[in-house]
Amino acid sequence: MKPRAGWMSLATQTRPPSVAPARGESAPPPPAPAASAPGAPPVAEAPDAISVRDFSLFYGAHPALKHIGFDVPAHSVTAIIGPSGCGKSTLLRSFNRMNDLIAGVRTEGEVRVAGLDVRSADVVELRRRVGMVFQRPNPFPKSIFDNVAFGLRLLGIRDRAELEARVEQSLLRAALWNEVRDRLNRSALQLSGGQQQRLCIARCLAVEPEVILMDEPASALDPTATARIEELVLDLKRAYTIVVVTHNMQQAARISDRTAFLLDGELIEIDETPRLFTSPSRKLTEDYITGRFG
């Protein structure tokens, strides 16, 4: 089984203590437990797509993540939940070093993603293997085609036929092809919000990453568009490892195999999603879940 993080300390709680744990949440079928080979060599057949060991991150002097440790099995969906400001985005952005952009960020501990040590890996190589989808759809102000082809051109692919084939394939996988096949040369900004977000997913799929990070990918979308993104996530996990930040616990329950609960920069609990939502082992988790649902 997964090694449980040994660094969970009780944070001072500001949340009002709730009493009866309400359990109205229907959970997805429990996922098959990932086969983990303890002591396996790090490169060949890494059992975990992501492994985080005693990882801390500071914005200047402010600790945003404190001694985090957990693993993400390959081909699974892991949801990160927690109140606003608890460090969900920071944790996600640690996986592809997007925090590098912020001055004064310092990290401790180890993060391995897709077989790479995040801190020492070539950042371009790392980001090629780890795609990211942001909270607000952020297509470039370019054509639909050029958006999806962006990453491919970065890889040096110039051949028009190959570009076209891979753009089509990516749009198909992102369930957007049928809606845009006739207007690939139109501006991506003319698409609806939900289409834009699927375009961003297609753009990230085009370079064939191993891991996809999603930071509240549906929070700016209407319910229908949200449902399509959720379907897509469930579909994509067959080929990719997905980590999705969400503040929506129902969403976490619907789409994830495992859920991590983060509070004040600490990983309070990570478990199979059905178990975390129905019988959390920590009082803090239960308070958070019931506080939201109750």
Partner: protein, 291 residues
């Protein structure tokens, strides 16, 4: 230090605005109106005057014929119109490259003391009178080459345009949404590639707008051209030769003691005004189409 918000709240008058407040309001409004009139009136008078004085001399011949020698009636400013276009085009090429590059540098990498120095230099340059820039270009270019030339004029005008272009490029590049950069970086794009393929295309409309505004101003500069491009009564489009330009021609013709030349100066002023207005209008259309 400003007072704490609570104190400021307490200082607010209770109930509706009092008499004093309303009187003050009216006064300020009147002041604004007067200011508006002060700005608009001279502009309207100026334009009306130029149109009234320039229109009688306006004809096709003015655009297509060369200046005539003193005493001969007729003639136009074809060489000066083309000369101004060449000067403005050349200085635009120089200024947009240098100024755009500098602005981009400041926006993307401009943190350290060197960037601060560059920014300060651009600010200082904005305050340098155009005649001084003309003298500098005279010393640097004209004396080096050995004679007046179009390229010296273009360089002088480009230096004048630089501060505007540097500053506005920096601003529009900074305005490019962070989300575009993040998207590109998250795809593994190196920094230079993000700038080249995402930031610059997104900022280009703004850079073009700013450059055109600066160009419109440069098109009317006279003093630096007197010391650099000089002027030319004959047809010349060579960059290494003195070249005619509308502002200098207007200057010469307006000072001349011949009434037909004075008339042509007015018409030249009108044409210059039309040129600049036409460019601005086209620019607005183009930007609206891009935006």
């Amino acid at each position: 230090m400003s007072p704490a918000p609570r104190d400021r709240l307490a200082a607010l008058p209770r109930g509706g605005p009092g008499l004093a407040r309303r009187a003050w309001n009216a006064l300020v409004l009147a002041g604004c109106g007067a200011g508006l009139a002060l700005v608009l009136l001279p502009m309207i008078m100026l334009v009306a005057h130029i149109v009234a004085r320039g229109l009688p001399g306006l004809s096709l011949a003015f655009f297509v014929s060369m200046p005539k020698p003193v005493g001969e009636p007729g003639g136009g400013m074809a060489n000066a119109i083309v000369g101004t276009m060449i000067l403005v085009g050349a200085c635009g090429l120089i200024a947009v490259r240098v100024g755009g590059g500098t602005g981009l540098y400041l926006a993307e990498y401009g943190r350290g003391p060197f960037a601060g120095a560059v920014r300060y230099a651009a600010e200082l340059l904005a305050g340098v009178p155009s005649i001084v820039v003309g003298v500098a270009a005279y010393g640097l270019v004209v004396l080096t080459i050995g004679h007046f030339s179009a390229i010296a004029g273009a360089i002088a005008l480009a230096i004048l345009m630089l501060p505007t272009i540097v500053r506005s490029t920096e601003e529009v590049v900074r305005l490019v949404p962070r989300s575009y950069r993040e998207a590109a970086l998250a795809l593994g794009a190196p920094r230079w590639r993000v700038v080249q393929s995402v930031v610059l295309p997104a900022a280009s409309a703004g850079i073009v707008t700013a450059s055109m505004l600066a160009l419109a101003r440069a098109a009317g500069e006279t003093a630096p051209l007197l010391l650099t491009a000089l002027g030319n009564r004959f047809w010349s489009v060579a960059l290494d030769q003195p070249i005619a330009s509308l502002p200098v021609m207007i200057f010469d013709y307006a000072r001349a003691p011949y009434s037909d030349w004075n008339q042509q100066a007015w018409t030249g002023a009108l044409v210059l005004l039309l040129l600049v207005t036409a460019v601005s209008a086209m620019l607005r259309l183009a930007v609206r189409r891009i935006g």
